[in-house]
């Protein structure tokens, strides 16, 4: 008989990035006020900002490739990847057949092997047919393998009502997907952030779900020439006020800013917080704002039941209950499948009027 086995002691991992991922260089992040100016004359579209983010990172790192439906020869169903085939060639800008589960899983396998895939869903609505791959494989690989393999991948595409597309094509997936540990979710509201967040998403060693909006792709704003990265988990204060805090993310941030401008005419001043990532969630920024205002309205383009708004309000109650002068309120889309008719779809969204009414109610001026 051989002697009993010896059980070796296992050392604690002391690196900031898990050793399953090597050759990771996180960008050096700076505080919001140190970022290049948001004012300027280099005005480009949201879609161009996304393209610049991908192209800059692809020039830096040959491991990155872009795959999705119509991304190459068609130049992108929404022209996000226009011209990228010409620059990077067919081995790195790859048209996939309509096969979301297949190419999402292909991306995950490639990420495990060490590539840095960007997988484009024409719409996040179509990601539902890839749910097994993106929810069961990507976010769980590091855990299930006991820390042997990570999954550095970006899934990106249009999220939310695109404009009379009906209920199957108008999904907002942040509520569904943010429930799953192991993934990160970024959701920009403007071209400047879109570029800075997407560059961070590509550099991040974890799976990132990057939610864009068809309705914002044509939005124009100044995007600086110089390179910059926006860190995950840090909200941006889009407008400063003292009477109420509005928390939002993605396209509805723009509705909030419209509402805030009108509320200012009524003498109500609000903080508008753009979360930029919902997982991680910058709850410290929310708490700081509520400590000042005592009131909060969460504006969320998902359905209300078990939504991100629900999570935000839960955390608010857990972390700053004593500062609240009014119960937290939420403005979600209406709790029905997305309608087709223009009148119904318009009303269904968390639009300006609903936000104004909620804020008035929160500050007692309803």
């Amino acid at each position: 008989m051989t002697t009993a086995p010896s059980i070796p002691t296992l050392p604690i991992i002391d690196s900031p990035i898990h050793p399953a991922l090597t050759n990771v260089s996180l960008p050096s992040f700076v505080d919001e006020h140190e970022l290049p100016s948001r004012e300027g004359s280099r005005v480009i579209q949201f879609r161009e900002a996304l393209r610049e983010a991908m192209s800059e990172e692809m020039r830096r790192d040959p491991r990155i490739f872009l795959m999705g439906e119509e991304v190459a020869q068609y130049n992108g169903a929404y022209k996000v990847s226009q011209g990228m085939l010409d620059e990077f060639g067919p081995q790195r800008i790859i048209d996939s057949p309509i096969s979301e589960n297949g190419f999402a899983g292909l991306g995950i396998g490639a990420a495990m092997y060490g590539l840095r895939p960007i997988i484009e869903f024409m719409s996040w609505s179509f990601s539902l047919v890839a749910a097994d791959q993106i929810l069961n494989n990507a976010p769980k690989m590091l855990y299930m393998s006991g820390g042997q393999w990570g999954c550095p991948i970006v899934f990106r595409g249009n999220n939310g009502a695109g404009g009379q597309l009906g209920s199957t094509h108008s999904w907002c997936v942040e509520a569904l997907y943010s429930n799953v540990p192991g993934l990160k979710i970024a959701i920009p509201s403007c071209p400047y952030d879109a570029k800075g967040l997407l560059k961070t998403a590509i550099r991040d060693p974890d799976p990132v779900f990057f939610l864009e909006s068809e309705r914002m792709l044509g939005d124009k704003a100044h995007v600086p020439e110089e390179e910059y990265y926006i860190p995950f988990g840090r909200a941006a204060l889009r407008r400063e006020g003292s009477d109420c805090t509005i928390v939002s993310f993605g396209r509805p941030v723009n509705f909030c800013l419209e509402a805030a401008a009108e509320l200012a005419n009524e003498g109500i001043s609000v903080d508008v917080l753009d979360m930029r990532t919902v997982r991680p969630l910058d709850s410290a920024a929310i708490v700081r704002s509520i400590q000042k205002t005592g009131r909060v309205v969460v504006v969320d383009q998902c359905w209300p039941f078990a939504s991100v708004a629900s999570e935000v309000i839960t955390q608010v109650v857990e972390k700053c209950f004593d500062y609240l002068d009014h119960q937290p309120l939420r403005v979600n889309t209406d709790d029905v499948p997305t309608p087709y008719a223009k009148t119904l779809e318009q009303e269904y969204l968390p639009h300006k009027r609903k936000i104004i009414e909620a804020v008035r109610s929160a500050v007692g001026k309803a």
Partner: protein, 411 residues
């Protein structure tokens, strides 16, 4: 029947049968060119898997192992023969009946058993269990629990391996791919052509993911071989009741532009002889493959399967063609004499050597069980919130912060 008993010599085929099989008087087959030591190692690998699985069943019955547990006994020739035909650094991914893949790829029985025991020294720190055997140093990209889900990963592994060879070799300053199992801090050497082996059961043939993956593999020219471990049953549903064209599965692959082959999975030597040149072609041409590898599991689908869907006689019929017995018979038959299955005897293994090997393996597996017993369980305070994010940040959870735990014992 198990390897615990010495093999019985099957009936010798007539010389006429051998001539028809083309094994006598023609050019040597790939396996005939291999040294005796290699074939003895194959036999040992199969015997190790079988002994390991017997101990797994015993441990499961003692409730030392939890969850679902799928036993590989009967199918051993599949992994041993197919792995022998590829290189150690070719990526491999499989489904949940994965203990055999782990052991045949080189995972220690200790790490494999400790994983099923849910212990910290298991291959996945006790976080994966029986269905999730991962072994990065041995390029095993997991056992995967969802039927067919690994077929897309196989396409991705092949895509990446080809990309490494085709794109990164030409990119100045390209880094070593960190997930490929190589130490990433070494300087990059040009990547060679690889071929990925992606295993699936016959039940996975009916999953959408499988069809999408075959289409992508055929379309993009991905060097992945889909090895269908066709044991005839998806759980309790026979293949005829579950899939069309069960008698001619290669036609499914043909629909995706992939030239598939059928292989008898119970005869290790003919399996290797057929699979080796096929895998070489897939590697050389960087094209996908599809193998209908006909095998059989002696045990139920999982440990909780009463097996009412098949007869004892059917199981027995396959056990009479047991792959371990057959290879042992070839190795033990006099050199150059017709042995079994059209193979010529090797005369390289005595009955005594065979029994010594059995004893060694028994002891090796016994020690693995002891190791698993003694390895500590992961503590919730230390290991529950680890390995969730590679880059943990504040705000990722509303409950607790994530952190890194202990380093995986395989790394």
């Amino acid at each position: 029947m198990s390897a615990a008993t010495a093999p019985t010599m099957p009936k010798m085929p007539s010389s006429e049968t051998l001539k028809q099989a083309g094994r006598v008087g023609s050019s040597p087959t790939p396996s005939q060119l291999l040294p005796d030591a290699t074939l003895i190692r194959w036999l040992r690998d199969m015997m190790l898997i079988r002994e390991f699985e017997l101990r797994t069943m015993a441990a499961y019955q003692q409730a030392k192992i939890g969850g679902f547990c799928h036993i590989y006994i009967g199918q051993e020739a599949t992994v041993v023969g197919t792995f022998a035909a590829v290189n150690h650094d070719d990526p491999v991914v499989t489904a949940y009946r994965d203990h055999g893949h782990a052991l045949a790829r080189g995972m220690t029985p200790e790490a494999c058993m400790a994983e099923m025991y849910g212990k910290l020294h298991g291959c996945a720190k006790g976080k994966g269990g029986s269905m999730h055997m991962f072994d990065r140093p041995n390029h095993l990209y997991g056992g995967h629990g969802i039927v067919g889900a690994q077929t897309a990963l196989g396409a991705g592994l092949a895509f990446a391996a080809r990309y490494d060879w085709e794109v990164l070799n030409k990119a100045p300053g390209a880094p070593v791919l960190d997930g490929s199992g190589h130490p990433a801090d070494r300087p990059r050497t040009p990547a060679g052509k690889k071929v990925c082996l992606c295993y699936l059961g016959d039940g996975a043939l009916n999953q959408g993911c499988f069809h999408e993956s075959l289409n992508l593999a055929g379309l993009f020219g991905l060097p992945v071989i889909y090895v269908v471990e066709n044991n005839g049953y998806s759980m309790g549903t026979s293949i005829e009741r579950g899939t069309t064209m069960a008698h001619n599965l290669v036609l499914k692959a043909a629909g995706y532009g992939i030239e598939g082959i059928e292989i008898d999975g119970l005869d290790l030597l003919s399996l290797y002889d057929k699979f080796k040149p096929y895998a070489d072609r897939c590697r050389e041409n960087q094209r996908p493959g599809f193998v209908d590898l006909k095998t059989y599991r002696y045990q139920g689908h999982s440990m909780s399967d009463p097996q009412k869907y098949r007869t004892k006689e059917e199981v027995q019929k396959y056990q009479e063609r047991d792959s371990i017995d057959r290879l042992a018979a070839v190795l033990m038959s006099p050199k150059g004499e017709p042995a079994v299955g059209g193979h010529l005897g090797r005369g390289c293994l005595s009955e005594e050597q065979f029994k010594d090997m059995q004893r060694e393996i028994k002891e090796e597996v016994r020690l693995a069980v002891e190791f698993a017993e003694q390895s500590p369980s992961p503590e919730a305070a230390e290991e529950l919130y680890t390995d969730v994010y590679a880059n943990p940040q504040p705000g990722l959870s509303s409950i607790r912060d994530y952190h890194h735990g202990v380093r995986n014992s395989l790394l």
